[in-house]
Amino acid sequence: MEPRECYRRMWIIRLFEQKVDQLFGEGELRGTSHLCVGQEASAVGACAALRPDDYATSTHRGHGHFLAKGGDPRRLMAELFGKETGYSRGRGGSQHMACYAIGFLGSNGITGGGIPIATGAALAVQRRGGDQVVVCFFGDGASNQGVFHESLNMASLWKLPVIYLCENNLYAMSTPVQKAISVPNVADRAAAYNIPGVVVDGNDFFAVCAAVDEAAARARRGEGPTLIECKTYRMVGHSKSDRRVYRTREEEAEWQARDPIPRFRDALLAAGHLTPEEAERIPDEAAREIEESVEFAKRSPVLPIEAALEGVYA
C-alpha cells in the first residue's frame, strides 16, 4: 500500500471512530462499541505489509482493522446503524462484522475468540498449498486466554502462516497489564512456543509495517508464525460507558504526544512522500467520506423483520 493511501486510511479510522463516538452521544447509535483512537498505526501498518489476498481476524475493537484491510466505511457505518447494507446486514453490529471478499474474517465479541480462528484459517491455507498469510489482531487481555497459548503452540508445531499481532494498549478494560501479565512483554510469551517474539512501538507506522513484513516473509517461506507486540494506547475509554478512573490524565497526555497520525505525517513530509497540501487535504476528504457514510447508513433500510428468523443454517 503506498504511503499516501496509508495516511488516508489512518485518517479514515480516526475520523470514523470520532464520528461513532459523537453519534452515540447524540443517541443516534444503540448498543455499544469499542473505539481504537490512537491505535491506527498498528492496524494500518500491519495491513500495509499484506497482500490484498491475505487474511485478517479481529477483535471487539475492530473498526480500525476492518478499515485498514480495505473495508468500506459506508458499509461499516451501516452495520453500526443495524442496516441491511451493513457488512453483516445488521445482524452483527460493531463487534461482529466481516467481509470475506477482502479477506477480513471477522471482528469478534469474545476476547481471544479470533485467535484459534486465525490459526485454523492459516491451516486451511497451508493445506491447500497457498502462500497467503493470516494476521490475527488481538489485545493484551486476550493473551491471557487459554486459546492464545494453545493456538501458538499448534501454529509453531505445524509452522502455520499466521502472524499474531498483539496491540498492547496497556489496559484490559480497566486492568493494567502489570497486574494481569506475568512477564514484562506479551512478546516474551513467544519463547514458550519456540517462535520469534518482537516488541515494536505500536504508534510508529514504519516499525509495525517492517515487523509484519518480516513476519509475513517468514510465514510465506513456510517457517511458521511470529508474535508481534505493538506497544500502543487507546486514547479513549474501553467502551462508551468508561469514565477512565483507572488511569491518570497525565498519562493520557503523555500518550497524546505520541499520537501516531502526526508522527506518520511528519515522517512522510520529511521523506517527500506527502506534500503539505496533501497533508491537509487528505483528512478533509476523509471527513467528507465519513459524513457520506453516515448519510448512506441513515438512508439504508433495516432488514425486513422476517429476515431476523432466516439464515440460521447455511
Binding site: 487474511y55 481476524t57 451493513g86 457488512y87 453483516s88 446486514r89 445488521g90 445482524r91 452483527g92 461482529h96 462484522m97 466481516a98 467481509c99 470475506y100 474474517l105 471477522g106 469478534n108 465479541g109 469474545i110 475468540g113 485467535i115 484459534p116 480462528i117 486465525a118 490459526t119 485454523g120 484459517a121 492459516a122 491451516l123 486451511a124 491455507v125 493445506r127 491447500r128 487459554g146 486459546v147 494453545e150 493456538s151 503452540n153 499448534m154 508445531l157 439464515g311 440460521v312 443454517y313 447455511a314
Partner: protein, 335 residues
C-alpha cells in the same frame, strides 16, 4: 437413502466403528477438503479405534494428531471451515466438549447468521458419548440436550451401524456445524451395512417397529433399548411402536406426532439427565401438537439428575435401559 434400504439391499456385517471408518474414508476419497483432526487419531487410531488405518491411506496432513487443546482444536476447525475446508474433529470423550463450548456456541453456531450469511462452517464434531463402561462422571455423559438449545448447530445421534455410516456422510457434506454422537456401548455392535454407497439425510426419523398401544421415541443407544423393550412388551400383549429420531436437530417432529396420534401414549427415552433434557423438549412439542390425542401422561425415561457414579453396580442401576422402558409402558397402558 430411503428408509429400509439397510434391510433390503445387499449388506455385510460390520462393527459400528467400521461403519464410521468407512464413512470417513469414503468422504475423504471423494473430497480432498475433508480432513480429520483430534487427539491420538493417527497411529493410535483414535481412543476407540474409529480412525484406525486411516493414517496409512491418507497421511498425517489429513489424519492430524493434535495436542490436548480442545478449545483450539475446535477453533482451528472453525477457522479452516470458513476457508472451505471440511474438518471432522474427534473429541475423545463427549465430556471434553465442555472445553470447546465457546468455539462451538459463540463461533461455529453463529458465524453464518451473525456475519450476514457470508460464512459457512462445515465441520463435524464426533463425540463418543454415554455411560456403561465404568469410566466415571467425567467420561460418561450424554450432553446432546445442551446443543439442541443452540440455534445454528445440528445434532445427529445414530443407533445402528448402517445409520451411523449414512448419517456421518451426510453430516460431513452438510454446510453447518454438526455434533455427531457415537454412543460408546454401540461401538461393538455388529450389524448389516449396505454395500452400496449411500447417504441418510438429516432430519428423517425411522419407524423401527410399528405398534398400536404406545409410542417409544428414542435415539442413539436408547433406540436399541426401545427395540428390546418393544419385543418384551409384545410377549405381554402390548404393541409398542418405536421411533428412532436419528437426528435431534433437525427434529422430525411430524413422524413423532403422527405416531402419538395413532397410539395415544408416548414414552420418551434418552440417556442424558432428566431435567431440561431432550425429552423435556419433545414432550412439550408433542403436547403442543397432539394434546387432545393423548390418552395418558407423557412419560420420560432418562438418567436421574446425578453425576454418573463409578461403581459398576451403581452405574448399571441408574443407566436407563429396556427394563425402564418396559416398566413405563406397563404403567401407561393401564391408564
Amino acid at each position: 437413502m430411503p428408509e429400509g434400504v439397510a434391510a433390503t439391499s445387499p449388506a455385510r456385517e460390520m462393527y459400528f466403528t467400521e461403519a464410521l471408518r468407512e464413512a470417513l474414508a469414503e468422504e475423504m476419497r471423494r473430497d480432498p477438503n475433508v480432513f480429520l483432526m483430534g487427539e491420538d487419531m493417527g497411529v493410535y487410531g483414535g481412543c476407540f479405534g474409529v480412525t484406525r488405518g486411516l493414517l496409512e491411506e491418507f497421511g498425517p496432513d489429513r489424519v492430524r494428531d493434535t495436542p490436548i487443546s480442545e478449545a483450539s482444536i475446535v477453533g482451528l476447525a472453525v477457522g479452516a471451515a470458513i476457508l472451505g475446508a471440511r474438518p471432522v474433529v474427534e473429541v475423545m470423550f463427549m465430556d471434553f466438549v465442555t472445553l470447546a463450548m465457546d468455539q462451538l456456541v459463540n463461533h461455529a453456531a453463529k458465524f453464518h447468521y451473525m456475519y450476514g450469511e457470508q460464512a459457512r462452517v462445515p465441520l463435524v464434531l464426533r463425540c463418543p458419548a454415554g455411560a456403561g463402561r465404568a469410566y466415571g462422571a467425567t467420561h460418561s455423559q450424554s450432553l446432546e440436550a445442551w446443543f439442541m438449545h443452540v440455534p445454528g448447530l445440528k445434532v445427529v445421534a445414530p443407533s445402528t451401524a448402517a445409520d451411523a455410516k449414512g448419517l456421518l456422510k451426510s453430516a460431513i457434506r452438510d454446510d453447518n456445524p454438526v455434533i455427531f454422537l457415537e454412543n460408546k456401548l454401540l461401538y461393538q455392535s455388529r450389524e448389516p451395512v449396505p454395500e452400496h454407497n449411500y447417504l441418510i439425510p438429516l432430519g428423517h426419523a425411522r419407524c423401527v417397529r410399528e405398534g398400536t398401544d404406545v409410542t417409544i421415541v428414542a435415539y442413539s443407544r436408547m433406540a436399541r433399548e426401545a427395540e428390546k423393550a418393544a419385543a418384551a412388551l409384545a410377549e405381554e400383549g402390548i404393541s409398542a411402536e418405536v421411533i428412532d429420531l436419528r437426528t435431534l436437530v433437525p427434529l422430525d417432529i411430524v413422524t413423532v406426532v403422527n405416531s402419538v396420534v395413532k397410539t395415544g401414549r408416548v414414552i420418551l427415552a434418552e440417556e442424558g439427565t432428566l431435567t431440561g433434557g431432550v425429552g423435556a423438549e419433545l414432550g412439550m412439542r408433542i403436547f403442543e401438537s397432539a394434546w387432545d390425542s393423548l390418552d395418558a401422561p407423557i412419560r420420560r425415561v432418562a438418567m436421574p439428575d446425578i453425576p454418573i457414579p463409578f461403581a459398576p453396580e451403581l452405574e448399571a442401576a441408574v443407566l436407563p435401559s429396556a427394563v425402564d422402558i418396559v416398566l413405563a409402558a406397563r404403567e401407561l397402558v393401564d391408564i
